[in-house]
Amino acid sequence: MTQTMQLGKAADQSFLGRVRSTLARRTEGRGVALLAVILIGVALFEPLVFTAYQVSLGRIALIGIVALGLTAVILMGELDLSVASTLALSGVVMALIPDIWLGILAALATGLIVGAINAFFVAVIGINSFIATLGSLFALRGLAFVLSDEAPVSLVNKDAGIAFGLPLLGPITPRIIIFILVFIAIQMFVSRVRMGREFFAVGGNRQAAFDAGIPVRRRIFTGFMISGFVSALAGVINTLERTTADPTAGSTVLLASFAAAIIGGNYLKGGRGSIVGTLIGAASLGVLQVALTLSGVQVPVQQIFIGAILLIAVTTDPNSLRAVVGSLRQVTRGRAKASSA
């Protein structure tokens, strides 16, 4: 289900050849490896995680929802740092409106507007998306503080929040159902819908995409609005579950969702990546967090683990490895020349 815009070399028709070419097209390798390592480690040291799968699933869902929205933006070679603040802001907006449904609508609309503003600065003004969304990361966090009067806002309709937290079918809570729906929707969007497939083209080679008649700017708007909407959805879910909206919410989600999307094999330069990979990344980080919490590891130490995974993820990108090998070769070649001279 991974999509790349590359055309394969002349197809090797033997079974092994087909397996090899399929594997070469996949980008999830590192995510799968991490998941395997974490699952083995967890099975050895903290098997409780598997019995407490309800907790793990909930954790995966929260990281995963934000990471899925982020993936849509990363596929185009852009980045949305404002996801955590959008989560906090939309939660506050929702809690401030007494009517629960109106609140949810307003929160989701907030996410769409935030996405459109980010996209405006990236696509129309031409600012680098790291800087534009860094600005909105802080501005929106500030706005959440202003709106909430710098204190958590509790939900007027607490019963709705309590009802939301109850499992519907077995261990499946509404949060997990929403996560699965978001996953299916975005997966379908980028693999089956023309507009979504064009995301890969925009990320792979923007000039070529533009020349091929793809409305690049409009795609960037779509991507950022998806990311904003999805993070707002995560904000709604978070607020419903806690029955309060905290203006500082989401700061731990930022790091984890980035780690999930990048370890899942989405190239930061855009054009290659997969929604399934993000899911695998979110699963490994969710399991890791729950396992660490269950074994009594403090939050700062958990952040060391997740930060280290993010650092490894971003430096083991195939492009990065190629760059390192290249400069190593340059160094050794230089040495050889120097010694022969």
Binding site: I125, I127, G135, F138, L143, F145, D211, I306, L310
Partner: protein, 339 residues
């Protein structure tokens, strides 16, 4: 044809700057504003504050502004190197400031100040090398790399310090330094001025400074010119880390205490100061002295907001909008001057 249309429409940040031609600049108020606006705006802001904000133009308040501007400025002049090299920013200054402040107080209590400074320097070099290797040799995105090192660093610091506050001896040299002034000028502001002069010389008068600027303008040409570009990037991150370390010392002397939250918000305010000063986030253009001007602008603005009783939330919103607007002016001016 189509290419030009796209360049005009999108001003792709990731197009190689090699496409830029050194065309004669067309006179445009926007280009002028992007380059020199900061002088006018800073002057206007200070005049506005003097005449319309109660309590701004008092000796006590000015001393306070300088006092608060010092650590911010020291971080910002160091981070200017990373920005000019075209690597956006170093988010991990948050962790660097806190690490050096905590090491400074905690180690000097036990083993004296010189050793504390050495240990802090070791930590700063470690930050610089890790960030620099990941960005320079692995070609990883600087924002993501420094985001991860921020959390790793803060996590380690909180783990080892237990999140507790460290106090220096009440009448030791640290406390004396933090409260001493020459006239209304606190010692910390003098440290800032010395740092700025040294770094400006490093940026404009040395080979290393030249390579930083050249890397920011055209990475490929710098590499093909026979430069080990990875080392240049490591150098930029080390300059930033050492500056953040000194800012951490200065912050520790203010209150004679240190805690792992010390650096929060500095990455953002330093970036605001650098960008408002006119250093381009697209790399290659900028100067340390401009950053100093940006620091004055941001500090005066913050001071006006505080004096007018505007809360933390609005200050964040104002700085966020300021960053995005300043970069927008820069981006539009680039497009106009390329036309």
């Amino acid at each position: 044809m189509a290419k030009e249309t796209l360049t005009e429409q999108m001003a792709l940040g990731d197009l190689p700057p090699a496409d830029e031609k050194p065309q004669p600049k067309k006179a445009s108020w926007l280009v002028w504003a992007a380059e020199n606006g900061i002088f006018v705006f800073t002057a206007l802001l200070v005049l506005f504050a003097v005449f319309f904000v109660d309590g701004f133009a008092s000796l006590i308040n000015i001393a306070d502004v300088l006092h608060r501007a010092a650590p911010l400025g020291i971080v910002a002049v160091g981070m200017t190197f990373v920005v000019i090299s075209g690597n956006y920013l170093d988010l991990s200054v948050v962790a660097q400031i806190a690490t050096s402040a905590v090491i400074f107080i905690a180690v000097s209590n036990e083993y004296g100040i010189p050793l504390a400074m050495l240990v802090a320097l070791g930590a700063a070099l470690l930050y610089g090398i890790v960030n620099g290797v990941a960005v320079g040799y692995f070609k990883a995105n600087a924002v993501i790399v420094t985001l991860s090192t921020t959390y790793i660093g803060l996590g380690l610091l909180r783990f080892f310090s237990g999140g507790s506050i460290f106090f220096g001896p009440p009448d030791g040299p640290i406390a004396t330094f933090g409260t001493s002034k020459i006239g209304p000028v606190p010692y910390s502001a003098i440290v800032l001025v010395i740092m700025a002069i040294l770094l400006q010389i490093l940026l404009t008068r040395t080979n290393f400074g030249f390579l930083i600027r050249s890397f920011g303008v055209n990475e490929k040409a710098t590499r093909l010119g026979g430069t080990n570009t990875g080392l240049v990037i490591i150098g930029a991150f080390i300059v930033t880390a050492v500056a953040a370390m000194i800012a951490g010392f200065v912050m520790a002397t203010f209150s004679n205490t240190a805690v792992s939250n010390d650096g929060l918000g500095y990455e953002f305010r330093a970036l605001a100061a650098i960008i408002v000063g006119g250093t381009s986030v697209f790399g290659g253009r900028g100067s340390v002295l401009r950053t100093l001007l940006g620091v004055i602008f941001v500090s005066v603005l913050t001071n006006i907001l505080v004096l007018s009783g505007i809360g933390f939330g609005f200050q964040q919103v104002a700085l966020g909008i300021l960053i995005v607007l300043a970069v927008s002016v820069d981006a539009i001016a680039r497009k106009v001057s390329q036309r």
